[in-house]
Symmetry: D2
């Protein structure tokens, strides 16, 4: 179904009649809802919803949907986003030396699992330029150290702007982005190679090995200024045994990292993720 | 949240405005929706929804909700059920010799995981009467063979009527119910000890062992007149290895059977399951 | 296969010929090995093995096996344990208020999944005495607070001695055992209701909810004087979503706790667990 | 550990002293066993073992190991294989139009997860030649239909011979190999996109959708002349819901197929798989 659709992601204080108000707005304008999902966080007193409808036959012209819904949203104190399915987001993939997540994301984009473009790869190492070349993607090698970090982040931000990037995907980029950077470009998803909050920080596989856990995991999360503490989008795990050395954990972990990051990026691109507080709702 | 609520389960041909119509009905009568979930099966052209709202503050008296909604449902050609959260369903658990599912269901009911009563246990063996006694539940030993099947099913149906039973849970009841029985009491959930449709019929663990599978499963489904072919509610699996003999498969399978049956019964009791065709929607 | 067997669990510095030496000892005495498993931890330079053989036809009388093998083990600097399959270990189950793990362990023992006896239940609450009574097990209510802890632990130790207990199973016993207690009775398995090392300490489900994880876990481990830091025997996880409140995490967690603790106890009772450093090898 | 090792895979009728005999053979010649695993299938009266030792310091010259062990094996009526870790197997990957498994296998080989070479890709479609070119692998487009099947299989066999191939990996090759072909080149692993034996044959995802299962799977197995009935090496599953259409099943299935096939190929290449009857032992 490649129907042209609009999607609203809304969060607001819970009150009576929210479902009716929003559904009426769409129905009154001739829209056909194809997906509607809602969640009420009773502890937080918050109503969260995702609603998607077909634009074919919708009476409101596209450019008037936002102002029209804005008038409804204001008295509800709602935060909301409006997305159209023919707006194709542009991703920058950031990598260091490991290629497994990079390849995975590119191949999914090529197989049309993702409605997205990948025009830009940024790396602090030159190693993976060959992958970029294979697929005709621009690759920028921007080495970062303590002394040049601020300057290099300027360069990175320029590239994001130049390539009109909507989302950074940190696909095993083994560097921390500065809080300043995150303030200026807050849309970034990272894959962490542990079952957070276990094994925060560096070398999680080594730590997992030393602790003797029987299961390892991977976590995809939005990046925030606090390391490994951003809102979690997706996690998964795999069983290990005493036979697995650290190198086996790394190998098994790579399979996890690929699939966990891939699912998180997919949910984000389909506008299924709502952040509230330090948590996410992922509508399915 | 032990709020008093009403739940509507609805399926009807898909058309514009269904979400709005249903939400308006509730909102217009002062109801506060606390859960709403919908699904559109585009292939079947079918709209399915589950909507739950608080009865506190709802202007329509309880006994008028069904007729009032019926007037809305008729032109939509909708099939629908209305449930109130203070109506406590009554379960009959049917067993043969194995006690693991029986204990599990009783303990969940005692721990208030289930809002249900369990007044009746029926068995074709006398073995588990001690369990019934421990928990003060009536136990009827009704042996069944080819010759007495019709007569014994009459007895069983009488008991179901006498105890005012809403749902049969076949918790490792190793007998097939006749099509006639199913016509007269169609509400029954069974646990099958395989990952259906693999290993239909008897001795699935033996068959799984012989085929050399690396994973075994269990399936909870509604019972229909065709053996092991009813709508699936829940499935789960566990990994096995060459070290596992048939007795290990049985042991590992028991843990699966308990949890798969428990989840299916829970979903049913919370009115989260909609059957359509030979499939289910299980709203979460 | 209820064959009478002997099992050796051995760990020693790795060197050539260990498998041959041990296998020869058994073969030379007429033993038939039915299970042999080994693991070499190359980082630690350690060889670990579990070997089980039939006693039928074994030429060495039982009481001479230990001294005879001791003579072989000494020059290898091996640590070892010898177990006979007809020695039935005696368990004390410790509980607080939640009955799910207690019931689970008792039912597995009754179903002969465990070759063990359960003569004793100790609790810091009176709530679960009814369960003990149902199954004819002695129940001791020993409330513990800061002031009486040392005295109550004396009572507990006396009971363990009086009932000739081999293993304590902390089946949701919500109290910490003192280091002194652990020194005097070091054989104890605990179930922790998180995916350790995430959410160490109290209220892990609340913490998991607040962190917004997408998967929760449970961990069975040997108890050491450092809280939640003992060698891990078994872990498992279950997926959660934004729809799950803390009460749902607790409910889903209970199913995990039961099965994770059950598997750990089973592995221990079958002499499949070797502790080394702060880790375990669990032979399958 | 890139140690040079030899590996014996042995199956023979069970009898006393087998572990000792084999371990003595290695120890007597100065070998250091680094992995030993065994399994006894009591029902079949069969002993199966995998034993790996370092060649450094082993007194027997390589070319004498096979004849020397053969002398031991004959009276035991053993079937056995001897492998050296520096013999690099050569794989032919067969594909149709889907590239996900192909890319996955190539990338694992490039990342040195596999000690193998991939010199040859055979396809019944021209679509994936670009992938072969990216990695410098020879690609042969050999279309097959009823009329030319025998002739084309001759060509395929010639290529396998010419490229000195040890193992065929059917990585979503949507054609059946003839029994004659299998007789002449029996070493082939296939990935089937269902949880066998459920949904044997074509279109398993469509069938799974129609049956309404809640979990789908993938199965890697050795190819035999009976369709989808060969010995299973590895299986895995993923949960689906009513929201998943057939296209979602295909997408989720692709992730499964990749990882299940990858694990099976890895186990095979590490000589961890022993076939007996129609089943496998996969030593870990």
């Amino acid at each position: 179904m490649n129907r042209l659709t609009a999607t609203l992601l809304i969060s607001c204080p819970d009150r009576q009649g929210l479902v009716a108000k929003i559904a009426n707005f769409i129905y009154a304008n001739g829209g056909n809802i194809i997906h509607a999902d809602q969640h009420t966080d009773f502890a937080a007193g918050l109503f969260l919803t995702r609603i998607e409808w077909q634009l074919e036959g919708f009476h409101l012209p596209r450019e008037l949907i936002a102002p029209a819904f804005g008038a409804i949203a204001q008295p509800l104190e709602a935060q909301w986003q409006l997305h159209f399915s023919d707006t194709i987001p542009r991703l920058a993939i950031w990598v260091s030396r490991q290629e497994h997540c990079l390849f995975d994301l590119i191949l999914r984009q090529q197989a049309k699992e993702y409605a997205a473009e990948i025009p830009l790869i940024i790396s602090n190492h030159p190693d993976l330029e060959w992958v970029a070349k294979q697929f005709g993607i621009d690759y920028y090698y921007i080495p970062v150290n303590k002394d040049n970090k601020a300057a290099q982040e300027e360069k990175q931000l320029e590239l994001l702007h130049q390539y009109d990037i909507d989302l950074i995907v940190l696909a095993k980029y083994m560097q921390i982005l500065s809080p300043e950077f995150m303030t200026r470009f807050p849309q970034a998803i990272n894959i962490h190679h542990s079952f957070l909050p276990a094994f925060v920080g560096a070398n999680p596989y080594q730590k997992a090995y030393e602790r003797g856990v029987k299961i390892i995991g991977a976590t995809a999360h939005y990046v925030t200024s606090e390391l490994d503490a951003g809102p979690i989008i997706e996690q998964d795990v795999v069983r290990i045994s005493h036979r697995d050395e650290v190198s086996d954990l790394i190998r098994k972990g790579k399979d996890l990292e690929r699939v966990v990051l891939a699912r998180a990026v997919r949910s984000h691109l389909q506008h299924r993720v709502l952040i509230y507080g330090n948590k996410t709702v992922v509508f399915e």
